[in-house]
Symmetry: C2
Subunit: 432 residues, 2 copies
Amino acid sequence: MGSIVELIAKKRDGEALSNDEVARVIQDFTSGAMTDYQMTALLMAIFFRGMTDGETVALTNAMLHSGEVLDLSRIDGKKVDKHSTGGVGDKVSICLAPLVAACGVRVPMISGRGLGHTGGTLDKLEAIPGFSVNLSTSDFERIVRDVGTSMIGQTATLAPADKRIYALRDVSATVESIPLIVASILSKKLAEGIDALVLDVKVGRGAFMKSIENARALATALVRVGTAAGKKVVALLTDMGAPLGRTIGNANETREAIEVLHGKGPEDLIHCTLKLGAEMLVLGDGATSLQDAETKLRTAISSGRGIETMAKLIAAHGGDARVAEDPSRLEMAANVTNVTATSDGFVTEIDALELGLSGVLLGAGRSRADQKVDHAVGIDLLVDRGQRVARGDLLCKVITRNGDAPIDRIRSAFRIGESNIERSPLVLERIA
Amino acid sequence: MGSIVELIAKKRDGEALSNDEVARVIQDFTSGAMTDYQMTALLMAIFFRGMTDGETVALTNAMLHSGEVLDLSRIDGKKVDKHSTGGVGDKVSICLAPLVAACGVRVPMISGRGLGHTGGTLDKLEAIPGFSVNLSTSDFERIVRDVGTSMIGQTATLAPADKRIYALRDVSATVESIPLIVASILSKKLAEGIDALVLDVKVGRGAFMKSIENARALATALVRVGTAAGKKVVALLTDMGAPLGRTIGNANETREAIEVLHGKGPEDLIHCTLKLGAEMLVLGDGATSLQDAETKLRTAISSGRGIETMAKLIAAHGGDARVAEDPSRLEMAANVTNVTATSDGFVTEIDALELGLSGVLLGAGRSRADQKVDHAVGIDLLVDRGQRVARGDLLCKVITRNGDAPIDRIRSAFRIGESNIERSPLVLERIA
């Protein structure tokens, strides 16, 4: 096998690396024999030349085995996770994981933090007083066994090569590469010890993938490579033109997710949760069909088993479980600014990207990974796409500590037209 | 202007960077605000996307101004340098610089060291006892003024950005990019304070550019960009299929170069020296035509002014000037192994690459930049291409400390065929 420089040159010249060569790259990078500046050169070569499915599987496996791989085989039943490529208002994991667990399928979930306009499940969970997302993998395993689901952050021991490579991609303009995205997502998820994975690939202005074609290409690659790596994988492409649900922030998003488990909450969030959950139940042998699965999920809501599981999850993570019964206990800041319509008409668009970026300005999100977020601020939407409004009607409430908010920017995210639009379905495609 | 990541993405996506953006990259890289791993990602993007002439001029200027730029305007007359892209047996600079200086054109020359199969002028000069190539730029300037030529290594203060970028390219598989090669060569050469530059772009197995098309593309880019940067530039494409001259090593190569100044030496080396020197004299206003220039150079040899200048150059650099009169004073190792022909026929090929790599194995060259070379070992060729040999005839002598030499490899570099070949001319093309 050639030197690392020769392997970079091989990829640069459009040849596929062998499994052994890919493994060598990740081993040498992990040991320090391959430097960061060699890795970014290789990443840029991969950006231009792509990778075959075989190379992407090899890269996924190599990054997966750069650290600890959880073995959940001691826990009975199938373990199934869901991964979202990130959006605005996407609090699905928080209601989905307990709901699926309540239906008997285990959900071991390693989640992320918000960055840029997209939020992160860990930040939202931390809005619950006492809730810790920094548990050891043995605590994680115990909670998955006892409660049915646990949600923690990526530890230093899980897929460490991915962690370092992701940090380099972020600062070297090599993020937007499908094989690199696929290997990054799958290596982390496979390290959880799952049997199957449901992917929520977001599409639209508020998503990483702006076009349906790019989203489809990513979803297809994820399903192909995940299947080749021996897992059952299904992907749904879902609309992220507008925020999901009616809240953007942290505490308010967690509140809304909990409301879903109480049989309330906005229609699109319920729909997204049920569709993803149904796929998880079927993959996890918890239902015989998607229809059967949806019925089981709805029953878990109406019977209260979903919210019971949520309460146990919170308690197991050291959080205040009373929040499950009464999500209004979550602290929200006191200053509320009303944003109103300046004309009559129909709400034709609610720009997820602009509202996500406004959330960052409010302090609910972060533009750099080392920033803290304020869990108690955010935006509560009061209208939906397609809704008729009159001048002066409330569009949203902006919750801040002191009233500082980019109100004009937030108002301009609501496009109001004379004629109504036809809303696209939330689930655009299913790829299996 | 965008962030460094945005500039990398811009180049990655095939857009040209503005002059200000290129300058910003080099400034941030020099200051440390742009990391090595960001630079290699950009270098790989440049490898794939190329650069416009405008970008390459901007990159050359930015790297040039990353350090000290010599001002030789206090020295009368034109200052002209020659740069070779590197080959095997290429000792031209050592006879060329004093010869051109003897004809009244100043030659300030920053040279390099050998790496891989190609030799370096600095290593060859250091075979002269006492000769120092590590002089300050003020000593360099003084010697150029007093002797007419000086030859030193790249100092820490001249084009430091190029030095760091070159080191990164070497280990990130981004060497073979014409705009990067052009900016690297020209930034160093322009830092010398020259008015004009003659380029010897080597072509063939022993050269960096193996094909005439690639060599022509590089030469054309060098001439275009150098001209756009305000210098007079001419390039010759010269054959590097076989070694230049009859020696490969250090002391033996310096001896051969000195012999040229004594009116001796092999025909191809004399020819190459005169052709390059003629271009330099014309660009430096030292001759009215190439023919006039060649006559002046021949006269400088026959009159002894060339070798006198060589003696002064050696003395000015602290070396033993008696070597100029008697190059056999240069130490060669005692162990000589004869390599003989194993069949009758014509020498159809003498593989420069194989002999260059064999030289590295002997210790005359280096495979890593931090290795030392042994000046006293090498290979002396005793046949030329096209020459008829009989089985048992001497092909070359291998000079070693202890007899250890890859004799079979060296022998196989000489291809002996039944019918003779037509030799290509040494100077293949002239690009101005």
